[in-house]
């Protein structure tokens, strides 16, 4: 991450403008590092944890991601942070950005799933709204587990 993803200007801007960033050396024995390592217990490095400003965990994952996929993850986390505080319109914008930044990003189908939920809550809980967004998961990612989860609503056009 330090060699490829973090130096990328769009990543720098996204992190500096939208997140408070903390970096911890897994091998450090300093009290400050040990506090983080014990609190979040990541099982592999690189390991990433995202918290909202109250300290609620929003997401975690391990492993290198190239800049485009990492930016999609960052947008996803911003969507989660907004949704946790019932800002559904803002949440929807971030989930759509996570889905559209790079259609090959692994988080894209999950982002479409949550974009549907954000739109559903934003637009007065209309079931047609969630169906419209989840149909996009079927169209773009029919093999995705997120389509499996959405399919239960029968979002096909005549369903």
């Amino acid at each position: 991450m330090g060699a490829v993803t973090y130096p990328q200007p769009e990543v720098v801007q996204m992190l500096n403008e939208n997140f408070i960033c903390l970096r911890v050396n897994e091998r450090s024995t300093s009290p400050e590092a040990v506090e983080v390592l014990r609190a979040y217990r990541l099982l592999w490095t690189p390991g990433f944890v995202f918290l909202d400003h109250h300290g609620n965990e929003l997401r975690r994952f391990v492993g290198y991601l190239p800049p485009a996929y990492f930016l999609a993850e960052l947008n996803f986390v911003l969507g989660m942070a907004e949704m946790l505080h019932a800002r559904n319109a803002e949440s929807f914008v971030h989930f759509r950005a996570a889905a559209d930044h790079d259609p090959k990003a692994p988080v894209a189908p999950e982002a479409l799933y949550w974009a549907g939920i954000a739109a559903f809550r934003r637009d007065g809980r209309k079931i047609d709204v969630i169906k419209r967004h989840w149909e996009e998961i079927r169209a773009r990612y029919p093999e995705s587990t997120w389509w499996t989860r959405a399919e239960v609503f029968d979002v096909t056009p005549n369903g």
């Binding site: 408070i20 903390l22 970096r23 400003h53 300290g55 986390v77």
Partner: protein, 32 residues
């Protein structure tokens, strides 16, 4: 060249997060 602004302590990060109303991103890395 611009660089990511990394903090070193959780206390500092939590205080800034509350003040800025922004999420916290924690990267745990192995220096190799």
């Amino acid at each position: 060249m611009a660089a990511i602004r990394w903090l070193n302590t959780l206390k500092e990060a939590k205080e800034e997060a509350v003040s800025a109303q922004k999420p916290i991103f924690i990267d745990v890395y192995d220096p190799g």
